[in-house]
Amino acid sequence: MSSHHTAWHADDSDLATYLAGRTPTVLAASLESHLIGCADCRSRLGALSDVAERDRAWDRLADAVDRPSRSPWIVRSAIATPLMVQAAAMAVLLVGLVPLLAATAWGDRGLVTLLVLAPLAPVAAVALAYRDTSDPSGEMGLAAPVAGLRLVALRALLVAAVAMPIAVGVLLGVDRWIGDVPLRLAFAWCLPGLALAALVLLAGTTRLDPAYVAVAASSGWAFLIGVIVVAERSVRLDLFADAIAGPAVQGVALVVAAAAVVTTVVRRDAVSYRRTA
């Protein structure tokens, strides 16, 4: 470094070494402190630097700081906020944890609990998908191209896709239920669950609150299970297998599910707009 009258200036070689990042720490600190107050040296430093490389460095920095969420866009639109994640997690827990605990605590009666609760997974998924309070974009989201049935169906399917395999897995995973009857039962609730969820989806195209319809549909399902228990005066697995996995219940569920989905698609305009004033 050279001195000039009362002030000193950095040599070109010192500046080049600094630019290359090879200046010892103490000397670099001294140089930086000098550069803050010396426009002449700053100007020479700028002239020595590779402008293109500097721009690339700024771009790299901006890329690192401003990088959008790494979540796939589907996940981002479905569970962007903690509220939405909580809603999805609730639906999964309904079928994952509660029936497992019930089965552990009450044995065969736990199966009844599970049959009551398992179809609630898709029902809850659909009802939660309609919750506009959890959408972080509010009314702006309604004016977006994905708004309406596309977004509701996407959110519901994402939650159901996680929750339903868990529900089936819980049934299959418990040792005491392995065998012909539990295997039938493990899948038997899926169609009724789909039918109930489709009814809730359909409710979203009306002025009815999907959450209330979900509660009503779930209560109706629980009532049906209760009727079977009372009629048979038993909670024997084979009786449930005959009743729930039988062609009557499965057939009705399939027809209801198909009819509700078709009607929803026909009435999809109602979901596309704001449902209340």
Binding site: A62, D63, V65, D66, R67, P68, S69, W73, R76, S77, A80, T81, P82, D135, P136, S137, G138, E139, M140, G141, L142, A143, A144, P145, V146, A147, L151, R268, D269, S272, Y273, R274, A277
Partner: protein
């Protein structure tokens, strides 16, 4: 760009928008009117958020009541609602990115560039990684505006966009909107209409009562405005100005000092007529 024929929307027994017929070209179009006049309901229909009860609505030459055309409109639309529901836990950057996802922009690199562009346009780059809950009301309004600008939409529907903005930011907003293709905006600020809008619609009780340029609106009061040192009880409206004289609206008495009308005069005269 926006055409309506006898467009109607009712809530219960209230006709929020009552057989409104209008046709706008490109440029900035202002909607004026008192609270409850139906401006927000009209804007929400223009933003495809509310379905009309009857009448026809065409946006960008497309029919929003047809599902496929509605999606196409929404792809080319930016909307700033009266009460934007911004998630307080998001940063402005997250918020813009989320809205870009809803606008079908699945490419992350594109969203990154677009988020920077719109946040720079509303001068929020300094705070784009702070939580929205820590931002001022004016900043939140600009976050919502940035969301509306994502994708450089052909049609911007803005409900009181200058809410909460300071004078400097209002100037910036004017500059921003003047670069947009078509803007339909409601406002209570008449000076904004005069500075920004090529055309203005004035609504009362769900109906459009005036259509024209801001100059046309001001000209409604030509020969109907006078100033005097004393208040004239015959005037239909009078108020004390900053110069200490009274400004009057109505039929000027003989010898009155008639002055050139402003946009406020035209609007106030129209409002008075509507309520007498």
């Amino acid at each position: 760009m926006i055409e309506t024929t006898a467009l109607t929307k009712t809530f219960g027994r209230t006709h929020a928008v009552d057989e409104v017929t209008l046709s706008t070209g490109q440029g900035v179009i202002g909607l004026l009117g008192p609270n409850g006049a139906g401006k927000t309901t009209l804007l929400r229909m223009a933003a495809t958020v509310l379905a009309p009860d009857s009448g026809e609505l065409r946006l960008l030459g497309l029919d929003p009541t047809r599902a496929t055309e509605r999606v196409e409109i929404r792809r080319r639309l930016g909307y700033l609602p009266q009460n934007p529901g911004l998630y307080p836990g998001f940063t402005p950057y997250d918020m813009v990115d989320y809205v870009a996802v809803l606008k079908e922009h699945t490419d992350r690199a594109w969203r990154q560039q677009e988020a920077r562009r719109v946040l720079e346009a509303v001068e929020l780059t300094d705070v784009m990684h702070k939580r929205i809950r820590s931002l001022s009301g004016g900043m939140r309004q600009r976050v919502a505006l940035a969301c509306a600008l994502v994708g450089d939409p052909d049609l911007l529907v803005l409900d009181e966009p200058a809410n909460g903005l300071d004078p400097d930011q209002r100037l910036r907003l004017r500059s921003l909107l003047s670069q947009s293709s078509t803007v339909l905006m409601s406002t209570h600020n008449i000076s904004e209409v005069s500075a920004l809008c090529q055309r203005v619609y004035v609504m009362f009780d769900g109906r459009v009562r005036f259509t024209g340029t801001p100059a046309d609106l001001a000209s409604l009061a030509v020969g109907r405005v006078w100033e005097d040192e004393r208040q004239d009880p015959q005037a239909i409206r009078s108020w004390l100005t900053s110069t200490g004289t009274y400004r009057h609206l109505g039929h000027p008495p003989n010898g009155a000092q008639v002055v050139d009308p402003t946009l406020d005069d035209g609007y106030l005269l129209l409002a008075r007529k509507e309520h007498t």
